[in-house]
């Protein structure tokens, strides 16, 4: 169909990987389950970011807010209403996050480019501070959640959340909604002249993004057993999903999951071999990815002109 749907082979491969990931609990290994659940969680966050950042062109540096909202919803459900049910936590988290997104979105989405990016970063930092001051949410010391007996149930839940996010992304790119998003990204003024109510669709994109992040957060909270402001609003959870989307391919369906897989693999290798300076190496990885894969791996597969086309792009951004 054209520019909005990506490479079909990559998509099939990614779906296969996703299906394979569903079988990890059968390995009966806590280590692999943790690792796999991490991949699924980051992939979900990345899918969410991708909807607003990749498809609609609004680069958010504060998506972790919704992840944090998800974790705290889950925690509050246990602390105050003694609810352990994962589906309930997910649904409540999504509802709260969507409300937040709609309320915040209407003023914030009027900003563009750098202003929007930093405003979202500011929201993430500010929310962490505010939550740390709310006693009902455990303030600075955080809240505990009693994990369910069947530990693998969190893995399954995260897998479902991740698969649902990927499916949602796929459906969006094959529907009119996806075109509204992309039109806004390409030229917001021209899109308005063509009948696209930009404000409404930006808020919708943000709300979808928020729902995905919150669902991931709700599951994470239960699996982790405990959350406090630094855990809920961790910078890693904010930035990694973006780098993953960038690595895999911004604005593609398969990109976030591929990026999550590769980056988690790199992270684990670094962590086990160089525990002291693993964050340092990670910074180096980010720098390298950004310099050499400005549009992600999947773009490399699609680029016209082969290698010359790739090299030509580097020249375009220099001074």
């Amino acid at each position: 169909m054209g520019g909005i749907t990506g490479n079909v082979t990559a998509l099939r491969v990614t779906v296969t990987i996703l299906v394979l990931l569903a079988f990890v609990p059968l390995l009966h290994s806590g280590y692999y389950e943790n690792l796999g659940r991490g991949v699924l969680m980051f992939a979900t966050l990345s899918f969410g970011w991708n909807i607003l950042g990749g498809y609609t062109g609004y680069v958010s540096f504060g998506n972790v807010v919704f992840f944090g909202i998800g974790t705290y919803t889950s925690a509050a459900l246990w602390q105050h209403w003694h609810q352990q049910s994962i589906p309930l936590a997910i649904v409540c988290a999504m509802v709260v996050a969507v409300v937040f997104a709609i309320v915040l979105g209407t003023p914030i989405l009027r900003l563009r480019g750098h202003y929007f990016a930093i405003a979202t970063l500011g929201i993430a930092l500010a929310t962490e501070e505010i939550v740390a001051n709310i006693d009902w949410l455990g303030a600075g010391s955080g809240q505990a959640i009693r994990p369910l007996e069947a530990f693998s149930s969190y893995y399954v839940a995260m897998w479902i959340v991740c698969a649902a996010s990927m499916l949602a992304t796929y459906l969006i790119t094959h529907s009119k909604l996806g075109y509204a998003f992309v039109a806004i990204r390409e030229n917001e003024e021209a899109a308005a002249v063509l009948g696209v109510n930009a404000t409404r669709y930006k808020v919708i994109a943000w709300a979808i993004s928020a729902a995905m992040a919150a669902a991931a957060g709700a599951v994470f909270a239960g699996a982790n057993g405990f959350i406090d402001p630094p855990t809920a609003f961790a910078t890693d959870d904010n930035v990694f999903p973006i780098v993953m989307a960038l690595l895999g391919g911004v604005g593609t369906v398969a990109g976030p999951l591929i990026g999550a897989l590769i980056l988690t693999a790199i992270n684990e290798t670094l962590w086990s071999h160089f525990p002291q300076i693993h964050t340092l190496f990670f910074g180096a990885v980010i720098v390298l990815v950004v310099l050499f894969l400005p549009r992600g791996l999947l773009w490399l597969l699609n680029v016209r002109g082969g290698w010359r086309g790739v090299v030509a792009t580097f020249g375009a951004y220099r001074v």
Binding site: V59, G122, E128, A132, V243, L246, L280, V290, P294
Partner: protein, 288 residues
Amino acid sequence: MELFAQDLVNGILAGGIFAVVALGFSLVWGIMNIINLAHGAFIMMGAYTSYVLFSTWHLDPFLSIPLAFVVLYVFGYCIQRFVINYVVRAPLLTPFLLTFGLSLLIVNMALFVFHGDTKGITTQYSGSSFSIGPVTVAWTKLWTLVVALAITAVMQAFLTASRTGRAIRAMALDIDAAQLCGVRVSHLYAVVFGLGAGLAGAAGVLISLSYSLQPSMGDPFVITAFVCCVLGGLGTVQGALVGGLVYGVLEAFGSQYIGTGLQDAVALVVLLLVLIVRPRGILGKATA
């Protein structure tokens, strides 16, 4: 009433540092259209430079300002010329993430070399202060403000009077036209970034006089710099100065009446109010 006056004075004194922080950030943003998320890391490097010079050779921090400036200038120049330049005109996300990655690298390098424990610089004059009526003023902070103002004056003179400064301003207006007039853009881009880093380094030294040092100390200043630039108006020295001073005062009052743990929330509210009510900032020019 005394409390109000004290807060006001504290705010202005802190505002001087914010102005220098904002100035470097504003230069890079205004001229190269890059939001440098590593600005905080540069500040930290300046602070640690002053610490090293102080603890090894007992060099007074005020005297290490020019040294820190030069060191960071060279560092920034090289980073722009050999790393950032490859994506300097790419869409927003790319330089954003790149400077974020660089920040991670630099901060963690510092963590590796200096370890995470808090360090401080205590000079002979560190604790001394004087009083004007009900208001107490710490000597260190007063001199910091004076130096900060001097730095902004020097930058203003450089940008308006020197040939390089004029070339930089021309480049900011229209990079292609400037190139056609013979301006060496790749060199000047690096100069601008170097200046931004140098100013951050100088700010770092000033900060080291009054605050404790940690590898992550510079990170909060990125948001501060952003808010000050938006508040005061992007692209001018006066804008950074006004933005810094006003923000310093707002933060002082914010800490007093809302609480010290909510700095970022205050910053965000200020930012959003400015962007919604007067997006160009206090001194900014309205864009056509």
